[in-house]
Symmetry: D2
Subunit: 204 residues, 4 copies
């Protein structure tokens, strides 16, 4: 487990690390909303267009307002977050996903998006299963709760089911080497994002 996630689970993550992560995650979500909007353009069926519009709404109307209110508890205003300079790790990850989606088709885009949504679900489950995880008195418990909620688990299941269906339709088996390369690259960029947060805690 990544040091950032593990120490978030046992409550020892330095506040500076979490604050830096939260600010960059806010900037990240703006581009992730754009990536889901792009999925709506890339879609050819009405149901895929609807699903993409719902994903954008979930980010900008639900997740980001929660994020903003959560950040307020750490003394961060939305204006501060918007004005923060974008880190190299944030730029690399978000632009990689968007560009992969633009160069490729809807399947390429969804594979590039998957490590974030599905990876957070996986982190949440591992924290729940880990005896070292502390819930009571953990300043990050709300975060653990969010990514292990029924709602979030449902979104993860829906995403995996959508990938399966899209994979069938769009020839995922034959395209496996390229799709795997996309998935691996996005996963490494997710890891680099945690690294960035962790380093902010060491220096902060």
């Amino acid at each position: 487990m990544h040091d950032f996630v593990r120490s978030l689970g046992n409550g020892t993550l330095p506040e500076a690390a979490f604050r830096h992560f939260l600010i960059q995650d806010y900037l990240f979500l703006i581009h992730f909303a754009r990536a889901h909007a792009l999925a709506g353009f890339k879609a050819t069926s009405l149901s895929d267009i609807r699903a993409a519009a719902a994903a954008v709404s979930a980010i900008v109307d639900v997740e980001m307002p929660l994020h903003v209110s959560y950040c307020a508890g750490w003394g961060l205003t939305e204006a501060q977050m918007e004005a923060a300079p974008e880190a190299l790790e944030t730029m690399a990850y978000t632009r990689f996903v968007l560009e992969r989606g633009l160069a490729g088709d809807l399947l390429d885009l969804q594979v590039a998006l998957a490590p974030c949504l599905v990876g957070y679900g996986e982190c949440g489950e591992r924290l729940l299963a880990d005896p070292a995880t502390r819930r009571e008195g953990n300043p990050y418990d709300e975060w653990i709760a969010a990514y292990t909620s029924e709602g979030y688990r449902g979104a993860v299941c829906d995403t995996i089911a959508m990938l399966e269906r899209l994979g069938q339709e769009a020839g995922a088996t034959a395209r496996y080497p390229q799709l795997l390369a996309t998935f691996v690259a996005a996963t490494r960029l997710e890891t680099a994002f945690w690294d960035m947060g962790w380093r902010a805690g060491l220096s902060g």
Copy 2:
């Protein structure tokens, strides 16, 4: 006023013309929802992303279901509409808008989208002001009502205000010849779409 709009206003439009128009308009709306999703990707501010997501929802969750129920009254199922071959006029208009939006920036895209939304509002106002318009007993009255409703008028005003703001930010004055060419091309494609409906009534 275009023959199609005028005869829709006085209730003399042949049913074959309206049915053909409705089916193609259904196919058109799928791509218009994709174009608004594209606007969400092209947006750089959170408020523009939200506005684009709301526009997609308005089409796929409100306008299209109304369209479907309306069409049911004319004996058309959603499956029939989806299976209908796309007319040349529908392809030309929708792909022109999408491609202009992809090659250009958000302002280019919104200018290409404007003749449809704003033009329908204009048609509605002219019908209301025209003494030849007949509301009672007009089989198309529901259509007139839809595009002269408070909700639709509000959407037209919002679109015009958004174009003004975007135009200021994105140098519309200097870009006027190119933007005008886009607006004129989209307006001609809108006209060709009415022509297509009208011809279906002559031959139907």
Copy 3:
């Protein structure tokens, strides 16, 4: 065989038809050059980027200058061709190809491009094999020669080979229904383009 192609082969095609076709084909080639440039962006390997750049050059540095000099023989200047209004058929075909390529991946784009290049090769071969084709004294003989030249045949073979390779890599078998729909739509748009030329000869 389409009336336009057949009568071009036996030399009876009205000059008005051919002139209208040539002008629209000039406008068409501008967007086809853009579509090949798009293929260069969509490519992931250096050899595919090189192939796309070569295709753009072949259109703008070889095919279009030939086109221009050919048109000069029919009394058309390049300025006249550039200033001509774009026909609905030209818009529908070019924007469909570009938009399909943008929404899909490189394979989707190349399948949308194929009916033009490969179809012209096919028309050329059929004309050569047809006893009704007249070469001597046929005002369109230069056109027949161009699309049955060794150079053009080589380009057709290369395109088919590239589609085979790309199809293997990108899961064409599983994606067949969608790819076929793209190919059929582009072929119908190619036919509509011939229809447009033919009609100009009837009215001209």
Copy 4:
């Protein structure tokens, strides 16, 4: 002047730094060729399409082969360069430029591309003017020569002239804050790219 550029100029740059830089620059150029291909799609005039095709050819047919032969002198094969993992800095810079170009119009794309081409020209001129620069016996002299050649200077002038023209047409004055933000972001990513090379020399 950046440490990387300064020490390249006086010949003290560690070989490990330059090798790392060269490999990443090779990967970078693949995506820069794609970005110029994208400019060909975004172009609306034949001359801009031609200019973009020429820029792609200059990269893949001239600059990259020179790069490959140059790298061979440092013991690097093209296969090794292609197989090298892409650094975070390379991903961030290349994908930022491509995505900015896709979300925006041709001017946005060209502004995002400018710091690289024009910046290298600027570095070359400063090295030439700097008394600390050593040409004879400098293992990097070929690099200095390449970016201060007449050919390169001409390309820089052409690029600046093209930006001026495009800026006039596309309302650069009104769009200045957004264009400046793009230019600054790309410049910072260029700097991060030098930083990456420099760090490889410290640890190598």
